[in-house]
């Protein structure tokens, strides 16, 4: 009885880690790094996490968790409330509908999928912010941010896979 309870608690804690890790990444992404020009093109860590978990463990990152991550990001980053929530939910929806093309494929397919999803997500956020602020936002910075995000993805992917092996594959 007692071991069953602890086992269940352990499993529950492990299953919460994808969501927890995503929240931590959102917080880390606003920590000042004091690198010239970096804050404007900082890679979208939350988008990477949402993409990765929705490809590999969608059951551990339900839609309301994605919504919560987006709202937290909006609150911390100072963007209009709801923008990142929509962007992350759109990315999540795209991944879930196209998931069968991505699971159990080589890393490059997953990376290519991320390139498409990130491009769509950033276009959506650009359009939303432009509409909300009634100006066309300068898109040049976004291109650099996009490229940097793509470049950082393999590192984060490796990290997420390590995390999976350490915390989730023991079930």
């Amino acid at each position: 009885m007692k071991t069953a309870f602890w086992q269940r608690l352990d499993l529950w804690a492990r299953q919460l880690t994808p969501f927890g890790l995503t929240l931590v990444l959102v917080i880390l992404s606003v920590v000042p790094l004091h690198v010239p020009g970096f804050a404007r093109v900082a890679p979208l860590l939350a988008l990477m996490a949402v993409y990765h978990w929705s490809v590999f463990y969608p059951s551990l990152l339900p839609a309301y968790a994605v919504f919560a991550v987006g709202v937290l990001q909006d609150c911390l980053a100072g963007t209009a409330l709801g923008v990142n929530a929509v962007v992350l939910l759109v990315a999540y929806g795209i991944v879930l509908s196209q998931r069968r093309f991505l699971v159990e494929k080589s890393f490059f397919v997953v990376w290519f999928g991320f390139a498409i999803v990130a491009a769509l997500a950033m276009s959506v956020s650009w359009a939303l912010v432009s509409v909300i602020s009634v100006t066309l936002i300068d898109a040049e910075v976004l291109i650099f941010q996009y490229l940097l995000t793509l470049g950082v993805y393999p590192v984060m992917c490796w990290f997420f896979q390590r995390w999976q092996q350490a915390f989730l594959n023991t079930e």
């Binding site: 404007r40 980053a77 936002i137």
Partner: protein, 298 residues
């Protein structure tokens, strides 16, 4: 017999996917509703934002420290390497500044004498609050930083935020232990300024790039490149005369200003309390003063 449970299972599965789809669409709708709410009730959304930032502030404060000390270490190593050249440069600068000091002393004495002749009253006294930058956020869409002080330390909405180099931005949202500062480069930043040499009045408007633009200049105004831009003190929010930046380029695309304060170098900053409420006092703070002193508009 085996058919029924399978059918039930299938129906259950389809109901579940339907529910999930509804949940998903509902959440997207909720996110859009939040955006509309942000337009309709700015105060409510700002308060929510302040509470969330307050909740995360201790974590940010903790997380930003190792980064800051790593940066300090790198700076120290760089300083050691450049010791000799830095020393030469400082000696030259010292010689130059000594001349300036002589000029400043003379002017100070002259100024004092003239002020006493005219019975001149100087402006409001200013107080400072020092703070650490614990978050630097926004990417391409918003330029803001978060400080580790808040309402309980005496920060108020609209106060000017400066470094030794110049103006950084203004206090936009105050939580109890965190403060969000809207940088001068943000799309929503509008600051009344003066061109220092010609005293032409203008508004410095951020555009989410590194160089905000001067707008609403008088048509006859001439703005030479390299001129300093300072706060004008109009609207009673900022003290007049805080340096902001220099005119970087004058062209068809407008007059771009390069701010003195470097965003990546923001670590410790000062919040100026100028003793004026200005136009930006938050409505939440007006309520006690109104009930306390009826009829007096602050």
């Amino acid at each position: 017999m085996a058919e029924r449970p399978r059918q039930i299972f299938r129906v259950e599965a389809s109901i579940r996917t339907l529910a999930q789809r509804f949940l998903y669409l509902g959440l997207v709708g909720a996110a859009f509703a939040l955006m509309l709410l942000g337009k309709a009730d700015v105060l409510l959304v700002e308060r929510v934002r302040a509470h969330v930032t307050d909740a995360v502030a201790p974590i940010l404060d903790f997380a930003s420290r190792p980064v800051a000390s790593a940066k300090e270490m790198i700076n120290e190593v760089q300083a050691m390497v450049a010791l000799k050249s830095e020393n030469d440069r400082l000696l030259q600068e010292r010689a130059r500044l000594l001349q300036w000091q002589a000029v400043a002393r003379k002017l100070e004495a002259e100024n004092k004498a003239l002020k006493s002749l005219l019975n001149f009253k100087s402006g409001e006294t200013t107080n400072f609050l020092s703070a650490r930058v614990i978050a630097d956020a926004g990417g391409a869409f918003a330029h803001s930083i978060v400080l580790n002080i808040g309402e309980r330390d005496g920060v108020e909405n609209g106060q000017a935020v400066v470094t030794g180099e110049g103006l950084v931005g203004r206090v936009a949202i105050v939580g109890s232990r965190s403060t969000r500062v809207l940088l001068v480069t943000d799309l929503n930043s509008r600051i009344p300024v003066l061109v220092e040499s010609t005293r032409a009045r203008a508004i410095l408007a951020g555009n989410n790039s590194d160089q905000p633009k001067l707008i609403h200049l008088p048509p006859s105004a001439r703005v030479p490149q390299g001129d300093r831009i300072i706060t004008s003190g109009h609207a009673g929010v900022f003290p007049p005369g805080i340096p902001i930046g220099v005119v970087a380029s004058v062209g068809d695309a407008g007059i771009a200003v390069q701010p003195f304060a470097k965003r990546n170098a923001l670590e410790y900053i000062r919040v100026i309390h100028y003793g004026l409420d200005g136009v930006l006092s938050s409505p939440g703070r007006e309520i006690p003063s109104k009930t306390g002193k009826p009829g007096i508009a602050r």
